[in-house]
Symmetry: T
């Protein structure tokens, strides 16, 4: 187990509290608690403490993002349906200035047309979608690689 070098906030938007129960054909059968546990394990294995927060309230998600400023090193966010509509969330991510990765359980680009546009994408450094609960773990890994690379002044992707 490496020492804890990073703290990461995992944000879950509206309806994700129902994971495992809601439309399993689309969203899979893992519960939110299981996803949080998997993310915590994956973080720990790479020296990162992971905090999780879910809310159905856009305002609560923004409040939580604000509180994260200065307290965490990066954010993984699955904004749920707000992904496609919330300029306020876009502004919040920009206002916090934290490296942020967008993630989705399903693959929105392959669903209804209105899910093709992510309002928050322009404020994010990257995105992972379509791998069910694994999307979170992969997003977390990508974020940590980004933080590592930034720390050592190198670029991501070429570390052995």
């Amino acid at each position: 187990m490496p020492p804890t070098r990073w703290t990461v906030l995992v944000l879950h938007g509206p309806n994700l509290n129902l994971l495992g129960e809601r439309e399993p054909a689309i969203y899979g059968r893992a519960t939110l608690a299981e996803i949080d546990a998997a993310a915590a394990r994956a973080g720990a294995a790479r020296g990162a403490a992971v905090e999780s927060f879910q809310s159905n309230h856009e305002g609560a998600l923004i409040d939580r993002l604000h509180a994260a400023r200065g307290a965490v090193d990066g954010v993984v966010i699955n904004a749920g349906g707000l992904t496609h509509t919330s300029v306020a969330l876009l502004d919040a991510i920009r206002a916090c200035g934290l490296p942020t990765v967008e993630c989705h359980l399903s693959h929105p680009a392959a669903r209804e047309p209105f899910r093709r546009r992510s309002r928050i994408a322009p404020a994010c450094l990257g995105a992972v979608s379509g791998f069910g609960a694994d999307s979170y773990v992969l997003a977390l890994q990508g974020l940590l690689a980004h933080l590592e690379a930034r720390r050592v002044g190198s670029e991501p992707g070429t570390t052995p």
Copy 2:
């Protein structure tokens, strides 16, 4: 080193042969050979042999995809500029019926408007973008987790 259970094809589209030299501010400094090596290492560590192929020709990419039918277990594809324009590539991915993951070095959703639409997304199971060379490694991991889960009849994301 686990035994080799899977074979994966990594497809690189137009202009990716120039990686490391082309617009490093956007695409990073890793070369294509380094990326392929990193993907091979990451695959090997998870029991997957990785084959790579790059072409600036849409037709050559389609030919290579066809040849992969029955020969590989899944595909990671960075279709470059063809991502946004090629219906023929979309059809080719569908025609092959292989689990396919779209990946990008940069984060297209945060760039020019015409990069927001992926023509091939509807035929892909997921996507990873914005992590530079790491996008490939994460996409490969996501694909392998998908293959594993399918093999054992479980769902991805909850494996310890």
Copy 3:
């Protein structure tokens, strides 16, 4: 008075707490309490208990919908201005899987162009609009007929 066979949730979105005071030319003069009472009476007459909930918070409406899973048999929702913008609410209705009827006091299709698109419609079984406070009563009746028909395995509309 028939025995109570059903429980129905009536959800009121933003600004509906002001009913009776707000733009009566458009929305009529009945207050929300009067509407809730009329819905309760209409429900009771058909064997349904009616619970009501109003909030100006999208998140609170989603929370309430989640709480209704397993606890009620159907939902009548007037999402107010969120009707036209909230993908999160659409997802919430789908996530709950309850038969849901959209209703409006005014007739949005005859107002500003942006009121023509209902974001939540694809998750609803039907809609009633334009009858002022009666829209709720009619929506409730339609929902109950649907529940009855489903229960007896027949189709709605042909019961004597």
Copy 4:
């Protein structure tokens, strides 16, 4: 049975003569005759005589609407496919000046995009959709409540 105070015209547009036979998964299994009978019963129970008319001809529907001026108190119309295309029908409803309610067996807002726009909506006082044959009965009830409220100078929705 209350005395007959109102006369209402129920207009059925193209293809509704096939009801009960045509795509029952979408439109239900009740025939047009059964729907007309149910509307007549529902009207009688509320003091309204109900006349019905079906045609596959836009012009015949307009002719029938014109003939209704001065002869009926209100109209329930299911314009079928003309709903989405006919400006002439919109003009006819306006020209007649009768309180008119739009109704649909299915829920057009949840179907193909071109069914989202109702050309006739701006001339209607309200709409009911998605309840199969019950849509007609609910539309009729809404129309009669509107007529009653107008007659006694009060507003709809608060009558006991």
Copy 5:
């Protein structure tokens, strides 16, 4: 110091609590407290008491607007990112019937295309944008001139 003739509510939407810290190149370096103080001073100098409220929650802003009915004479609102998306806020401003002025620190019409459309503009009497913290003071002045003119039955703008 003139006597207090007016009470005005200044509403701040999402992310404005971070003012002074967030993207100072766009939003300036004044904090929200400093802006509220400047607005209070400017109000006092013109006979107006100024109340301020900030929230990242759309619902809380609507609740606060409702509470202002009958309690204040006018509203200055910077709805932040909700400006461009919230029909519920538009409806709330209309429902309250108070003279309302929209204001922005930056000049949205000169930024991303999606910031060009203000959802709430049709319910506002005017707007001020682009003057940093001064936008609030100018909006307040404009509102007070409007209230004065209405009070004396004259038109704004010609007072000496």
Copy 6:
């Protein structure tokens, strides 16, 4: 009366010469001369000399803007109907490089759709609209605060 530190040009576009006579319900009853006098008074009170110019000719407005280069410190412009159509005026404002504030008597964002887009906005530092003749005075104040802040190297909005 403070000493004159600034010179400001107030530009009026097409049809504004008719102010006071033209559609007073929309544009108010103050004449252009009265507006110019009010602007001059407001300027003098803040140490600014104000020059005014009106023309119905796009070309004459551009000529006047060109002549202002090097001769004035800032511009307040109400481009009338040209606001929504003139790329040449946008280019002229950019070419002159003077701090420019857009202003309108009415609130264009609340009128016809084609008035929602200001062609010149991207070249302006801010905008004021909807306060009748007061729009000019507020725009002038905003411009002068901007000039002051720039002069003393501080930011606008926090001066006592």
Copy 7:
């Protein structure tokens, strides 16, 4: 009275049979019979016999147009609501090859956006709109001048 040199067909589309009764604020108070009489008088004064036909059926209008081939010299058509939707009528006018003038009682370009597009315009030589019943007389005059000019091999508009 000049000798009869021309025969002209005046075609009236849906709802025009109600003229004089329908929305007089928009369409005026003249009846269709009065308009036909005025057109006949105006035609007779210029050597033209005028035939009139009205139908609410698109098909009947097309049938009548077909019957006019070889039998009349030109057509004045007010297609009512079909103006904006009927490709079949456009094709019919082209198929007949008769000089045809579009006319409207009201001024569609100043009404709802969907009335701005005339489907039949590309097949017409000109149009008159907005003069109430006089639109027909002016359209007839324009058509006859066109026929005269064509007959004498000169151009319209310069005859004394």
Copy 8:
């Protein structure tokens, strides 16, 4: 001559009665009678009786389609200008559930933009266009091959 195994309805929409006379540069010189005779001959040679019907009335075409249910095995339809506008015809084809082939004398995709969209295409199994009168014969052949293949449980296109 094979025995008659199939009955096919050939439906002609508005203006096709003028074939041979109308815009021959676009539609050719064959008359409708000649086309019907050619279709009958082509049908007879493949064991199909062919019935023809033309109308300029959308409603009459729908009536005829309805009458064909249970009486014919398939339909060839050239809906003329209605092709691009009639949702009612689309619904009628779906309601009848008969294999239907769309055909056109000219090649609409190469003409005006509004001819590019066929409203009825989603209900048809295929389409033939651009071969003048031969389009009908080819459409008929395609339809009969489809019926044959369906009958013998094989696929079309591989019969010797």
Copy 9:
């Protein structure tokens, strides 16, 4: 010759000074002087003095319209290419408050798509197009009939 009861201004926009020389296939061979003479004769025959003005300058046309306020009874305007682009001209017509008729030599609705939208139409009472030089005469007649009808308090179109 009737006494002169009315004065009418005929306004010609850009490029109309070239009439008779410019693209005669589209605009005809009559010169502007001939058109003005024809309009004067037609006006005189109906008791109207006709003034004409042509300019290639939008501003000059607006100036001339302003000068016409109080001096003429109505306006006939062919705004040429400005028809499709000038909001300033739309505002000018509204500001003057004079009954105004739009006219065109050609039939813009049958030409390039960008000629289908008239910016000034919403401020005009009617329009005439497609009759070459006769368009002016017909527009003038329509305007005079409108003025007459308004004068005698009756409606246009039914005078003998």
Copy 10:
């Protein structure tokens, strides 16, 4: 067997080499070799030699088209996914000047919206779609009838 009078090129675009294996529910079970054989047989029966060529490369298809100039009498092309995107192919068909017929196994107009637009249609004389492998045979027949008619100076479609 008639003598060989014509030579026809059948061009198959991307992914058609997989026919019979790829998505048989959409594209049928005939292989490309079987389709080519069927086309050759159908050609031979009508006096035409048929050459076939398939490629997944847009450039190779264009090269083949160029080589066909002067060597064949007409072309049948199924451009696969390139149908909807390739302007270069459109230009190639025009450049070759050969009568060309577009064909499709499935019915693109009834599938995803982006398949509704054929880029190459404006250069083709006609199209056949939706008949599976038979589409090729019908397209070939249509092309040969066109060539025959052109040869004898008559029109297609009326030959016995």
Copy 11:
């Protein structure tokens, strides 16, 4: 120096009088006088006299174009911001019938989206953009080659 065979008009639109001072990063540092001198030299070297005219007034540019009819052999026009908005200028170029070449200092197609559409392009024979002041010289050369080729009845581009 060749004899003077041609006369060419170089037209400069709004804001080009500021060249050399205005946004040099985009438009370069050459003044308009220098550009005119370079064009004159380049013209003289090829036997062409060059006249220049600049105005910020659309009307003045149109007047100058009209005056050029019969007096010059061709036109080079940089219409500045009017390029993207002026239908009147398009009409003027068409009305003059002179060979006209559009030119731009910068490369509009690579700037803001609204600069991508040239209103005047359809009336021009060609265009040159992006070479700073050299754009004029190249445009002039292209125009003269066109005039030469037309004179000798050959085609441009193959002269030695």
Copy 12:
């Protein structure tokens, strides 16, 4: 003959190999060899060696561009139909980082709407179109002037 200071690549896209034979009314009668010879002569006269390459394969054009990196000083490209569709080519030009000029024989902005958008324009420094074969020569001259100016540190356009 000046010494050779520059090497320039001239790239020809799809169908340009047919020049001189293909649609001469649009593209002229010069062959590609003649154009290449003219470009070579024009280059030589200005100290530039010119290499030419044509392909109908997008991929081959990209390969050739890549090969040009470090080997040539600039590129003139006529991408033919790929101009309007190829993001891969846009990326290739950007990836190479060579000064590139777009050129066209015809004037795409004056042709079909889909030819108005150049995908590659944002990566090019300028463009020349509409001069037939001369477009290449002018594009080459513009490119060389750009290279010269960059070399001597001055700006293009003012060299004698």
